[in-house]
C-alpha cells in the first residue's frame, strides 16, 4: 500500500502574528515554522497503515526551502521519501494554484491513498485537499477521524463526525482523505529516526520540472485576492467583582451578567 501525504508548513500556534506594512501579508521574520498539525495526523495515519500492510510513504510539501525541515520531520517519524515543490514563482499562489502544482507532482506516482490535513491552520481555507482529489479524478473524503483499510486492500472505510453523530463512508481506492483532529495521536520523531532522515531521499521540483507555466502561479494569478488583513480587536480589561461576602459578590456578578453582559 503506497501512500502520499501532502503537508504544509505553518507558523507555530504560539507565534505572535504581526501584519506586514502592506496590510495584506504577515511579517515572517522570527516566525517559528512547524508542520501543519492536521497534516501531522495524516503522516501518522499513513505510517500506521504502512506498518500494517507494508509499502512506502511519500511526503510532498510546497513552499520555500525552509519547508524541507517539515518534510524531514515526517521522514524522521518514519516516512520513506520526500518531494519539495519549490519555485520563486509560487510565492503568493492561492489554494487552487497550489493544488494544481501538487497534482502535477503526484499524478504519475504509484499510490493507493493520499492524506492531507482538513485545513492549514494559517489561512484556514480547507480547499487544497478536495481540489487535488478533483484534479486527480479520485474520491475525496473529508474530515476523517477513523480510517480502516479492508483486508483485501481494495476499499477504505472512513468515519466522519456530523453534529454529534458519525457518518461512515466507504470508498474504492485510490482516494484522498483529509485528516481531522481525533484521527490519532501523532508519534514523536525518534532521535535515531532524525539521524536516519538525513539519509532519506528528498527531491526538489520546480514548476518547469513539473511542466507547468509559471505565469499561472503567484500573487498576480490569484483568483482569490486578499484585500486586507486586520488584527482581532484588543481584549478589553477584565472586571474584578467587589464585595464583602461571597453572597454579595455572587449577587453583584449575577446583576452584571444580566444588565451589562446581557447573557442571563
Amino acid at each position: 500500500m503506497n501512500i502520499i501525504v501532502l503537508l504544509k508548513q505553518v507558523p507555530d500556534t504560539e507565534t505572535q502574528i504581526k501584519i506586514a506594512p502592506d496590510g495584506k501579508s504577515i511579517v515572517t521574520d522570527d516566525i517559528k515554522w512547524i508542520m501543519n498539525p492536521y497534516d501531522e495526523f495524516g503522516v501518522e495515519e499513513a505510517l500506521r497503515i504502512k506498518e500494517k500492510f507494508g509499502g512506502e510513504v511519500t511526503v510532498v510539501g510546497l513552499g520555500p526551502k525552509r519547508v524541507t525541515e517539515s518534510i524531514r520531520t515526517a521522514l524522521a517519524m518514519g516516512a520513506d521519501k520526500g518531494i519539495l515543490i519549490t519555485d520563486d514563482a509560487l510565492e503568493g499562489s492561492d489554494s487552487l494554484a497550489v493544488a494544481k502544482a501538487i497534482t502535477a507532482a503526484v499524478k504519475d506516482l504509484d499510490y493507493d491513498l493520499i492524506f492531507t490535513g482538513q485545513r492549514g491552520i494559517d489561512d484556514d481555507m480547507g480547499v487544497v485537499g478536495a481540489s487535488v482529489a478533483e484534479l486527480l479524478g479520485i474520491p475525496n473524503i473529508s474530515l476523517g477521524i477513523k480510517v480502516e483499510i479492508s483486508e483485501d486492500q481494495k476499499t477504505v472505510t472512513v468515519n466522519r463526525p456530523v453534529e454529534g453523530q458519525t457518518l461512515v463512508i466507504e470508498s474504492s481506492l485510490p482516494a484522498l482523505i483529509t485528516a481531522q483532529k481525533g484521527l490519532n495521536e501523532p508519534r514523536y520523531a525518534s532521535l535515531p529516526g532524525i539521524m536516519k532522515a538525513k539519509r532519506k531521499p528528498l527531491e526538489e521540483k520546480s514548476l518547469a520540472d513539473l511542466g507547468l507555466d509559471a505565469s499561472e502561479f503567484g500573487t498576480e494569478a490569484r483568483k482569490v485576492k486578499i484585500l486586507e488583513l486586520t488584527p482581532p480587536p484588543e481584549r478589553a480589561a477584565g472586571k474584578i467583582i467587589e464585595g464583602e461576602t461571597p453572597q454579595e459578590k455572587a449577587a453583584e456578578l449575577a446583576r452584571l451578567l444580566h444588565e451589562e453582559a446581557k447573557v442571563l
Binding site: 522570527d30 512547524i34 524541507t68 525541515e69 524531514r72 520531520t73 524522521a76 514523536y188 520523531a189 525518534s190 532521535l191 535515531p192 529516526g193 532524525i194 539521524m195 532522515a197 538525513k198
Partner: protein
C-alpha cells in the same frame, strides 16, 4: 537567532514537545515523590534519549556537542531530575568507554547504554576530593588477573541505580595525577561493591544521588579503560563535555525563568496596573533578557566549536561559570517577581530556584572553573 543545522532544529522541536506534553505535567509529582515514574522512563527510552550521543553503530543517534546542547537546554526548562537517568548515558557515563574503551568493552556496554537497558554513572568525587581530582584516595591494586578496589565515592549521580560505573582510581600512588590515576568499569553486583542509599537533596528530585563503597571490590583486569595511568585524561576530557551540558541546562532554566517572569509580571495587578508597568520590574526583565542572550551566544558558540572538534576546555569553563550564574540570577529574580507565589512548593518558580542552585556546583564549582580559566592567562598561579 542562532542558525542550527536542520536535524538539530528537528531535535529541538521534538524534545521541546516531549518535555511540554510528557514531562512538564509530571514535574511537580516527580519533585514531591523524588522519583521519575517508570512509564515516563519508558517513553524516554522509546524516544531514544538514552543514546543521543552514542554512535549509530552501537544503536544510538551519534549526535555531537550541538545535539547535546540542544537536548540539555530543553531539559533545563523542566524538572531537572528527569534528565539524570539518561544524561549520564550520553555524557560522562559513556564517554570514557567511547574514548578509551576496547572494542570488546564498546560492544558490551554501548548498545545497552544507548537503549537505556543499562544506566551509567561516573565516580570521581570522594569525601576529600572533588574539584581537586588529583587528590583522590580510592585505590585499585593489581592482584594477578584482578584489580582490588578500596575506597568511597560520594555524591555520585545515578550511583544508587547504576548498572555500570566508570570509577576513577589510583593505580600508582607515587605517580599521582601524572600517570598514577586510572579509570575502571565496575558493574552492579560486583563482589565488594556497595551502592549506598539515596541522599535527600535540595533539588533535582527524581535524580538518585549517593555513595559508592568499595570494600576489596574485585574486578577483572579487562575492566580497566585504556591503559593504566590514563584515568586522569579520561576524567578531564569527559568533564569538558559535561561542562557544556551544564551550561546548556542553565541556559534552558534561565530562559524558562524569564518566560515565567514575563507572563506573571504582565498578569499580576498591583495598585491598579500590571506590575510589568513598574520600572523596578522592567529593569529586572531587561537584565534577564540581556544576560540570557549573552549566555546563549556563549553556549552555542562553544557547542559549534566543539562540534567542529576544536579544543575548547577554557571556553567550556567560561560558558559553564557564566551561564550557571545567569540562571541563578534569573531564577532568583523570577521568585522575586512572583512574590509569595514564587515561594509556594506547587509553583514551578520555587522548584526552578532549588534545581538551578546545583548548577554552580556540579561538574566543577564556579570557583574551580575560575581557577581553570585564570591558569590559561597567568603563568604560575598555583
Amino acid at each position: 537567532m542562532i542558525e542550527l543545522p536542520e536535524e538539530i532544529e528537528i531535535l529541538k522541536q521534538t524534545v521541546r514537545r516531549f518535555v511540554e506534553d510528557e514531562v512538564e505535567p509530571l514535574a511537580y509529582l516527580i519533585d514531591e515523590q523524588e522519583r521519575v515514574p517508570d512509564q515516563l522512563v519508558k517513553k524516554a527510552r522509546d524516544l531514544g534519549l538514552f543514546g543521543l550521543t552514542i554512535p549509530e553503530q552501537y544503536g544510538g543517534s551519534g549526535m555531537g556537542p550541538l545535539g547535546l546542547a540542544v537536548l540539555r537546554e530543553e531539559l533545563g526548562r523542566t524538572n531537572m531530575g528527569f534528565g539524570s537517568f539518561f544524561l549520564l548515558n550520553n555524557g560522562i557515563g559513556s564517554k570514557g568507554i567511547l574514548y578509551q574503551g576496547s572494542d570488546e568493552q564498546k560492544e558490551k556496554y554501548l548498545p545497552k547504554l544507548a537503549s537505556g537497558e543499562m544506566i551509567a554513572c561516573f565516580a570521581l568525587t570522594e569525601p576529600d576530593a572533588g574539584s581537586d581530582a588529583g587528590a583522590i584516595k580510592t585505590t585499585a591494586e593489581r592482584r594477578g588477573d584482578y584489580y582490588v578496589i578500596n575506597g568511597t565515592k560520594q555524591f555520585i549521580t545515578n550511583g544508587p541505580v547504576a548498572d555500570v560505573a566508570t570509577v576513577i582510581v589510583v593505580t600508582d600512588k607515587k605517580l599521582g595525577a601524572h600517570g598514577g590515576i586510572s579509570a575502571v568499569l565496575v558493574e552492579k553486583g560486583a563482589r565488594g561493591f556497595i551502592q549506598g542509599k539515596e541522599e535527600k537533596k535540595m533539588g533535582w528530585h527524581g535524580s538518585a544521588t549517593g555513595s559508592l563503597i568499595f570494600e576489596d571490590c574485585t574486578v577483572p583486569v579487562g575492566n580497566l579503560l585504556g591503559k593504566p595511568g590514563q584515568g586522569f585524561a579520561v576524567a578531564m576530557k569527559t568533564l569538558a563535555f559535561g561542562r557544556l551540558g551544564v551550561a546548556a541546562t542553565a541556559l534552558g532554566a534561565a530562559q524558562r525563568a524569564f518566560e515565567m517572569a514575563c507572563d506573571y509580571a504582565s498578569q499580576r495587578v498591583a495598585f491598579g496596573k500590571p506590575i510589568a508597568k513598574q520600572q523596578f520590574i522592567q529593569g529586572m526583565i531587561a537584565d534577564m533578557a540581556t544576560e540570557i542572550w549573552a549566555a546563549r551566544l556563549m553556549v552555542y558558540t562553544l557547542a559549534k566549536d566543539m562540534e567542529a572538534d576544536l579544543e575548547r576546555n577554557t571556553e567550556a569553563s567560561m560558558a559553564k561559570v557564566f551561564a550557571t550564574e545567569v540562571a541563578w540570577r534569573a531564577a532568583d529574580a523570577n521568585v522575586q517577581i512572583h512574590g509569595g507565589m514564587g515561594y509556594i512548593r506547587e509553583h514551578p518558580a520555587e522548584r526552578l530556584y532549588r534545581d538551578v542552585r546545583l548548577l554552580r556546583i556540579v561538574e566543577g564549582t564556579s570557583e574551580i572553573q575560575r581557577i581553570v580559566i585564570s591558569r590559561k592567562y597567568l603563568s604560575n598561579p598555583l
